[in-house]
Amino acid sequence: MRLEENHETTREWGPGVRWSCIRKLFVKHTFYLWGGIVNKLWKRGLRWSGLALMLCGVVGLMGCGGGDENSGGTTNGGSSGVKEIKILVAAPLSGDYAETGKDMAQGAELAAAYINEQGGIKSGPNKGAKVVIERVDDEMSTSAATTIASRYLDDDSYYAFLGFITSGQAQAAATVLERADLSLIAGFASADFLTSEADNIVVISPSIGNFARVAANFAVDEFGVKTVGTIAGDFSFLDSYYKGLTGVFTEKSVNYASKQTYPAGTSDFSALLTNIAAKNPDIVMCGAFQADAGRIAAQMRKMDMNMPMVDFIGDGWGETFGKTAGSSLQIGEFYEMTPADRFPEPGSLGAEMSKRYLEKYGKSINAPALHFFDGVLTIAAIAEMGSKGREDLLSYATKVTGEGLLGPIAFTADLKPKERWGTMSKVTGNGADDRELAARYVMYGETETVERVGE
């Protein structure tokens, strides 16, 4: 049975919503009345009085624009009056990265549905509470991150704040939250400076330098490469990836011959690929989201660059990659990096959630969705540990244990994940599931190292 039929993850009609509607109607009619008075004054020649009243109204409206009054991170919402844990989820829902943002929000909603299906929060002061997700568009902007953080501060019906695709946004939001001793669960952002510069951020993702270390180690172990070229989007988090790659290549005496970056919106990569081809690398490593990665793959093969292409960004190459790469996937080898167990055991949480995500959203679960799924699981685990409200989330973060899709839910004293899984898989076709296991890795949070496991 589909999850949304049984379990509420969004607010429904109930006493809270009813009061909200009544309040809105009241405000609307007050507005009409006020407008009428201003109009009459204006018509009678009392323009300055009308103007003054209008300005008072503007200030008054701003005064009314504050957050809702509520209590301690949980609310009695829904028609049944069941306790809720409301999580504010910030993701880029508009702009160039809207697709990734929607994946993030959908991952969080899938986790909420899964938790609610199990009966909600299982223990602690919020036992029985249902998890409700509220999406908000962060526009991938730093200033928007600060206003969303302020919204969270204002409205204490929010139990937790999960968000952001870039570390800059997470850092800016954390600065605002720090003023009120509140914390942020950074879903996808994980630059190295996050945990060193702020002590109120719980980071769900492993150090992204470790993503690059997994891919670089795989390239060296699998192909014995001596010369490497990379092509990557000019993302704000790219420096952390480069740090990981450079570390491994320096240690293993690999010649990092060409490092090409492109700005957002690029569709012709031939000039950058020509530069890489001139260095004659053994492999090309690609740091691009799936649509760009597909185009790069197609253009590489068109230029007779038939060396293996290895992903190091770990965003997940899904259906879009297959479509944009087209028939180029039949030539040479392509390897994808996934910051999770790409081949979970049948019946495991990973296998079950992959299936449900595909059923519900019509696409394979990818890295952004996996991260936000684990973000919500972490918040639920913190609530189950005994956290009463959003003020004490951090004190429970280092104590939680559990199973997530990225690896075990457990954090170091620096609020980094202790362990995360990484999978390198070979692309065998254009479908999102046309993959073959190539290697499994474990990424460690405390030491920022990676280790190959299994065969």
């Binding site: 504050g66 991938m140 302020s150 204002d154």
Partner: protein, 350 residues
């Protein structure tokens, strides 16, 4: 006969009286509206302690100061300048570097940032002295893109793509930027200072010269106005103001990254001035404040927010261009004509 002439001829004496009264009072209202709003903004924290509203208004003040600076070059002088974001970023990065790496006090770093951006704006005006119209727009866009790329690819100075982090506590007039209320008042003070300064500048000889250059640079030259100097002054003052706003942005947000000063944010600032209109400092500032505020209020609309904002912008442009006024007049004429025809029509029952 033009539509406008038809309107004037057809209007009743009462309507004409209203129109003339409005035309007389409007400049006065526009002139005092922003100072009154600024005065009222000092009271907002007393009636509303919402941190969201304070944060949104803080960002609105930064945008207001930015557009007030840009209004000189793009609004008054008519230079198609899309590079205000670059000078905003230059001011922000200069301040961040000075307070973090050199341990300077915020006020001193701000003064240096204003000087640096002023000089940069002056150099920019010198180097583009012979570039006009669309070509100036291209040069300014190129500068914006190049600056953002430079910041992203110079990690030893700017901390690279990931942004400038690790800023120390910053204080001004004994108030700390770590306190949201203090930050609100500091940014409001800065905005008020910039607005008053710009309002004075546009009333000076150079301010009036800017409008003359905008409308007809040949006529301006024939009157002895140096178009080059006028443009240089507008760009230099506008850049210095952007540098000041950038310094306060560092204080209020405490994190900067190259993307915040790329083409898109820079274009948005220019858009506020274009919507606000030619040679109207209060109008462009009001547009910046209102659109920044609305952007946050529409956030709950999710994906539809961009569309709603687009419609607001279209309406604003239609209103400024008189399209709505003409349309409403035509509608009234049509309705009046229909009523007249109905009145004159023979009664079917008789």
């Amino acid at each position: 006969m033009s539509t406008r002439a038809a309107i004037v001829l057809d209007e009743s004496p009462k309507d004409r009286w209203s129109r003339e009264r409005l035309a007389a009072i409007w400049p006065l209202v526009l002139r005092w509206f922003v100072p009154v709003v600024i005065g009222l903004m000092f009271l907002v924290p007393f009636v509303n302690d919402s941190r969201l509203q304070l944060q949104v208004l803080t960002i609105a003040f930064l945008n207001g100061a930015l557009v007030a600076g840009l209004a000189l070059s793009l609004g008054y002088t008519g230079v198609l300048n899309f590079s205000q974001g670059t000078f905003y970023g230059l001011g922000a990065y200069t301040t961040a570097l000075l307070v973090t790496d050199y341990g300077l006090q915020f006020w001193l770093a701000t003064l240096i940032a204003v000087a640096v951006t002023g000089v940069a704006g002056w150099l920019f005006s010198l180097s583009t002295g012979r570039v006009k119209g669309d070509y100036f727009a291209l040069v300014s866009i190129a500068l914006t893109i190049a600056f953002a790329q430079l910041c992203a690819n110079l990690p030893s100075v700017t901390r690279g793509r990931e942004g400038f982090f690790g800023l120390p506590e910053m204080r001004l007039f004994g108030l700390s930027f770590d306190d949201s209320l203090a930050t609100y008042y500091l940014c409001l003070l800065m905005f008020a200072f910039v607005y008053v300064l710009m309002a004075r500048v546009v009333r000076t000889f150079y301010g009036r010269s800017m409008l003359t250059v905008r409308y007809n640079d040949v006529a301006a030259r024939s009157m002895g106005i140096s178009t080059f100097t006028t443009k240089a002054i507008s760009l230099t003052i506008g850049s210095a103001v952007a540098g000041l706003a950038g310094a306060f942005m560092v204080g209020s947000i405490q994190f900067i990254r190259p993307e915040d000063f790329g083409f898109n944010p820079s274009f948005m600032i220019s858009l506020y001035v274009i919507i606000g209109g030619v040679g109207s400092l209060p109008a462009v500032v009001i547009v910046a404040l209102v659109l920044t505020y609305l952007q946050e209020q529409f956030r709950g609309l999710g994906d539809y927010r961009v569309g709603v904002l687009g419609i607001v912008v279209i309406f604003a442009v239609f209103w400024r261009a008189g399209v709505l006024r003409d349309a409403s007049w035509r509608l009234r004429q049509r309705l009046a004509g229909r009523r007249l025809r109905r009145k004159d029509a023979p009664d079917a029952d008789v």
